[in-house]
Structures are given as C-alpha cells and as structure tokens.
C-alpha cells in the first residue's frame, strides 16, 4: 500500500510535467538545442492574451549556426508533417532550399482551440536569427495575420 501511494504521488507530480504539447519543437523551447543563456524566451498565458483571441503564446528567439539551424528546421518540419491540420492552413516560404518563413495551423487541442506553430529564419552575417512561436487560442489564421502584421 505504501509503495502504491508513493507511485501515485510520483505520477501526480509527473503528469503536469509531461502535459506538454507533444511537439518536436519543444526541445527548442526547453533549451535542448540552443543553450538557455543565448535565448530570448517568453511564455504568456491567460487574460492578457484575450484581445488577441489567444490563450497561450510561447516564443523563442536566438542566433544559431548552420548545423543548429538545420536541427531546428528539421524539428519544425517534423511537426509540420505530423500535426498539420489542413493543407490550406499553412504559409511557407523557402530560400535556397531552406525554410525561411512558416506559419502552420496544427491539429486543434482537445478543447477545440486552434494551435499554430510559426518559424522565421533570417540570415545575418553568416549566422541565422531564428524566431519560433507556438500559439493556442480561438484566433483563426486570418485573425492572426490581421492582428500581427505591421502596416
């Protein structure tokens, strides 16, 4: 009985930790690809995102070398391939055979919220400035474009 209780307690601790989005790009957000000191990361949830019809916004920015860029691109492409909701719900742009810009709507959450993964990679002095974002919310792709596109 004591062992069972301990197991249940550990399970209770482990569940919230493992309740991640189940995406390959989580490795990047968690700092497994790029060392945390070189990252600019934000995690926003809740009321403050209501005006944007979002509930979760997770962004990360960093500068990477070529091999790192390739890893990030590969992880993003895997998610794109595995979780794409609809072929029409994505915007992609390639430069020199590499992903330059992507906004992809992936499968909705269990609660029916839309999920998006975004990627941008800009070449800057032989290095790559990469911005990644993960979003959850009721906003459609058109809403996001309208809200966040600078005029």
């Amino acid at each position: 009985m004591k062992h069972l209780l301990i197991t249940l307690m550990l399970l209770g601790i482990a569940l919230p930790i493992s309740a991640q989005k189940g995406l390959h790009i989580n490795e990047i957000f968690e700092g497994c690809i790029i060392q945390k000191p070189g990252m600019h990361k934000t995690l926003i949830k809740g009321e403050s995102l209501e005006p944007y019809k979002l509930t979760v916004l997770h962004t990360v920015k960093f500068t990477a070398d070529r091999s790192c860029r390739d890893k990030v691109e590969a992880l993003f492409s895997k998610d794109m391939g595995e979780c794409l909701s609809d072929k029409d719900n994505l915007e992609l742009e390639y430069h020199d055979g590499h992903l330059y810009y992507a906004v992809v709507q992936i499968a909705d959450t269990k609660n029916g919220l839309h999920r998006y993964i975004c990627y941008q990679c800009r070449i800057h002095a032989k290095e790559y400035d990469i911005t990644l974002a993960y979003m959850e919310g009721k906003a459609t792709l058109a809403d996001l474009r309208k809200t966040f596109k600078k005029k």
């Binding site: 934000t42 944007y52 962004t59």
Partner: protein, 151 residues
C-alpha cells in the same frame, strides 16, 4: 568427597568466568558460597552473585494469573483506515487532475539570456514583438508586392 579448598574455588571461578564451567563445578561453587561464612574480601561479591543465582524465581499466584488472562487485549482498529486512506488519495488525485492549475491562468514570463524578467508587461511586449516580426517580415515577396501596389 574431597574437601574443597579456597584454592580450588579460585580455579573454578576462573573457569566460570571463562565460560568453561560444567554443571557439577557450578554446583560446587554454589554450595561453597552458601556454606562458607568467613570469606576473603575479594570473594564476597562472588558469594552474593551465587546467592542470587541460586534463588528460585517466585511463581505467580493463581489470582495474579487470572488477572493477567482476564485483561482485555486491544483490538487492532486500523482495518477501517485503509479504505478511508484510499478514498482520500483518490479525492486528492481527482482534485489535482481535474482542477486546472492556477498558474496557467495568468502567466507572463520572459527569459533574456537565461535571466528571468519579472516585468509582465515587458514579457508581453517581447512575445508580441516576436509574433509581429514573424508575420510582418515573413514573406519578402509579399512585402515587395504590397510596397509596389501602394506606390
């Protein structure tokens, strides 16, 4: 039977202290210490010890035995504890799993070069800027076409 001398007794005591005494030797020692009144000073403690060893333990009276057996023994009551404990555990886990964590309701955290920003507004701004950057600078071709159309 040969008369037991003090010298014999000292030898037997040495054997006794070494744990080598036979039952017969123990009997000799016991009889000697109970019969001899005028002992050398160093043997007096041994005489007291053998007197105590020779005493038979008193058997408890029938009344005392009755009282002992009639004392009610405590019944173990923890039989009902396990279901209660199990129910408490289930309730606790149901609460943990079914209640959404409050932290997720309102969070705005930013990490810049591994350092956490406590300013929620700054975190929010960083996150939104990252999104604007992706959505605005994503498609260069689109931007160019927009620029030419405006002109």
């Amino acid at each position: 039977m040969n008369k037991v001398t003090e010298e014999n007794i000292r030898e037997l005591l040495v054997r006794y202290l070494d744990g080598m005494s036979t039952q017969k030797e123990l009997k000799v020692l016991g009889e000697y210490f109970t019969s001899i009144g005028n002992l050398p000073t160093d043997l007096v403690p041994y005489a007291q010890m053998f007197l105590l060893l020779g005493e038979k333990p008193k058997t408890p009276t029938a009344e005392a035995l009755d009282r002992f057996y009639s004392t009610p023994t405590r019944k173990r009551r923890n039989i009902f504890l396990w279901p209660l404990l199990a129910a408490a555990c289930i309730a606790a886990f149901a609460y943990i799993l079914l209640t959404p964590p409050k932290m997720e309701e309102n969070t705005a955290i930013a990490y810049v070069d591994g350092k956490m920003l406590t300013d929620k507004q700054a975190a929010m701004q960083m996150g939104l800027e990252a999104l604007q950057e992706i959505f605005s600078n994503g498609s260069q071709e689109e931007q160019l076409s927009e620029l030419f159309n405006e002109q």
